[in-house]
């Protein structure tokens, strides 16, 4: 009986306890704000410091520059050369190339598997798929990068005779493997949240099981699947270790998918260790970090909103 006898209530303790819990719960909010403030703060030299602006202003990062007298102006990322060049365009192209290949690889597989799991799979099969996806999500990205670098790159080069062992396709596919679980989970969740009453209605009208899936469930869940793809894209843009290890890290402007390439995230990881604290290069790397932060923030916010609306809509909840 002793457990149920409580000490005399203490209003002060209750009050302080609640306030302590409330303050602690704002840690996530404070963290987001601090992350933005401190990453942006380290890149303000680009806007304010005249010495840094000589090497790296927004103009110089975006537009073609004539780096050497008499030679044609161009976009180039060579921060350690005698004339430091900080054009972001080669990195942007590399980032987009890798992320797009990743999406081309991951979306069909992840959405296909999600449809199979939610619509066709027997209970037993589903009990196999779910842990497989969870295991895949649990593979550290450094392990995927290692696998792409040591095994996949050699294998793919032998089959397709790539000129460069490490290229956009290899890195993109490895990146795709990393985002499959995200897309699968969100797409599957969107389809299974379609209420049974809708399925029953279609069945009652004479549709068989796959017709129910494709004419009723899929159209209803399309915004969720799209949100999954967008969130996967956000993850692919920011993922670091895989592209750092498997892309060849050549900051060049090229439309070819078989050339080596380099992304924003890999550039930060590869170069931050050797920069002068507070110098132009340091500022530019933090500026790239700010861009990544803003991009993923917007993508996440948008994806979340779509998913919340979708659930309210198909489950008939009123706001």
């Amino acid at each position: 009986m002793k457990r149920y006898q409580f000490k005399k209530k203490s209003r002060i303790r209750e009050f302080l306890g609640e306030k302590l819990i409330a303050v602690t719960s704002f840690a996530a909010v404070i963290a987001i704000l601090l992350i933005f403030v401190f990453i942006f703060k380290e890149s303000t030299g680009i806007f304010t410091d005249p010495e840094i602006r000589q090497e790296a202003s927004i103009d110089k990062m975006v537009f073609k520059q004539e780096y050497y007298e008499g030679r044609a102006p161009k976009w180039s990322w060579q921060p350690n050369s005698e004339v430091p060049k900080y054009s972001l365009l080669p990195l942007l192209i590399g980032t987009l190339k890798a992320a797009l290949i990743a999406m081309l690889f991951a979306v069909p597989l992840a959405v296909g598997a999600a449809i199979y799991s939610s619509e066709f799979a027997s209970k037993r099969m589903r009990e196999l798929i779910k842990p497989v996806i969870e295991m895949l999500a649990g593979v550290p990205s450094v392990v995927l990068g290692f696998f792409a670098l040591i095994v996949m790159a050699t294998f793919m080069q032998e089959i397709f005779a790539f000129r460069f062992r490490l290229n956009a396709i290899t890195a993109g596919i490895a990146l795709g493997i990393a985002v499959i679980p995200i897309i699968f989970t969100i797409a599957e969740d969107a389809m299974t949240s379609v209420p049974a009453s809708l399925r029953d209605a279609a069945t009652a009208l004479g549709a068989n099981s796959w017709q129910v899936s494709f004419t009723m469930v899929l159209p209803a869940a399309i915004p969720g699947i799209a949100a999954g793809a967008v969130l996967g894209f956000g993850r692919a843009i920011g993922e670091t270790m895989i592209v750092l290890m498997a892309s060849g890290n050549a900051a060049i402007i090229s439309a070819s998918l078989t050339d080596s390439m380099r992304t924003f995230s890999a550039t930060i990881a590869a170069e931050l260790a050797e920069v002068v604290f507070g110098g132009a290069h340091y500022n530019v790397l933090f500026f790239i970090g700010t861009l990544l932060f803003i991009f993923t923030f917007v993508v996440n916010l948008g994806g979340d909103m779509v998913l919340t609306r979708l659930k309210e809509k198909i489950q008939g909840k009123q706001q």
């Binding site: 457990r3 409580f6 209530k9 209750e14 306890g17 819990i21 409330a22 719960s25 840690a27 996530a28 909010v29 963290a31 987001i32 401190f38 380290e42 069909p108 597989l109 598997a113 449809i115 199979y116 799991s117 066709f120 799979a121 842990p131 969870e134 649990g138 593979v139 550290p140 990205s141 450094v142 995927l144 290692f146 040591i150 499959i180 809708l198 279609a202 009208l205 004479g206 549709a207 068989n208 796959w210 017709q211 004419t215 009723m216 956000g234 670091t240 270790m241 290890m245 930060i268 931050l272 790397l285 933090f286 970090g289 990544l292 923030f297 996440n300 916010l301 979340d304 198909i314 008939g316």
Partner: protein, 318 residues
């Protein structure tokens, strides 16, 4: 929203009349099954390759001795030790904050209040920020601001003590990264606690704080444990956040102070795979390290999955 449901049904009605009665849907079924099989095959190939190549390397010596000859021989003990130290420190920092946040969201605020929404948006976004951005933040805030600040106030003329990459800064950075994991699984556990239990406690005269401390948290313990384990698994695998905040290529000693640098399994894999002068020579050790890292994260995930499925079963039975 009645109209949306009606729209969707109407769309299906329109199409339903054109259904061919004998269409068995073999093609979509086959295609989606192929996609599923492909994903399973990818995981199997990665696992088998790592186990096949790495199994021969694993021995007690490998697990318990330091690297030798520029990582071409010897073991990985310092990396295992560093990883464990990192995740222990991280867990100590992240679990209390994550649990209190979940308690606040679930017990103190209404789900549609503005505060709840702001916190939820922050949690979701924190989960989506690229890990390399956490690394930048760790360097800019913990090392460059907090660490340098401590040095200039307390140890003004002793050179950098705290204002340099160190295990405490890496752990704090990793704690921020894993905060959403802990919050989300604690919340799931809180949801599975029946309202009657709380009502009974309050009816017996317990205050809200007492109810939380003696009824709710003990009941939610498996969920909190799951969250902690998942956070550890995530923290043990991430490399980008610790690259600039404390991890070292090679150290001749184990970390024994909070401001020491440390070696870590994932970072060790990265270093050996990309910086080694002779990849063929380091390959057995590299595979062995990857296998240890994979087994570690998978075992942790497995334990978490088992505990979580038990919680869910309990909820279904109620």
């Amino acid at each position: 929203m009645k109209t949306a449901t009606a729209d969707l049904t109407a769309a299906a009605v329109g199409d339903a009349y054109t259904f061919k009665p004998r269409d068995s849907g073999l093609v979509p079924r086959g295609l989606t099954l192929a996609a599923t099989a492909m994903i399973i095959a990818i995981l199997a190939v990665i696992m088998l390759n790592v186990i096949w190549q790495g199994f021969g390397t694993i021995s007690w010596d490998f697990l318990s001795s330091p690297p030798e000859q520029g990582m071409e021989a010897g073991g990985i003990f310092p990396a295992i030790f560093g990883t464990v130290a990192l995740v222990v420190l991280m867990t100590i920092c992240v679990v209390p904050v994550g649990v209190l946040t979940a308690v606040y969201l679930h017990e103190y605020t209404r789900p549609d209040s503005r505060i709840t929404r702001i916190i939820r948006v922050a949690i979701n976004n924190l989960a989506g920020i690229p890990s390399i951005v956490f690394g930048l933040f760790g360097l800019g805030f913990f090392v460059g601001f907090v660490g340098v600040g401590i040095d200039s106030v307390l140890f003004a003329d002793q050179g950098p003590l705290w204002g340099q990459p160190a295990i405490i800064w890496a752990s704090l950075t990793m704690a921020l990264l894993t905060l959403p994991v802990v919050i989300i699984s604690t919340e799931e556990a809180l949801r599975s606690i029946p309202q009657e239990l709380k009502d009974a406690s309050l009816a017996l005269g317990a205050t809200k704080l007492q109810t939380i401390g003696r009824i709710i948290l003990p009941q939610a313990m498996p969920g909190i444990l799951t969250g902690a384990i998942l956070a550890v698994s995530r923290g043990a695998g991430e490399v980008a956040p610790i690259m600039f905040t404390g991890a070292a290529y090679y150290l001749p000693y184990l970390p024994h102070k909070l401001n020491d640098q440390f070696m870590e399994l994932g970072y060790h894999v990265y270093v050996m795979a990309t910086q080694s002068p002779d990849v063929e020579k380091t390959k057995p050790i590299l595979y062995g390290t990857v296998l240890v890292l994979l087994v570690l994260t998978f075992l942790l995930n497995l334990v978490a999955v088992v505990i979580r499925s038990r919680i869910r079963m309990k909820r279904v039975r109620q």
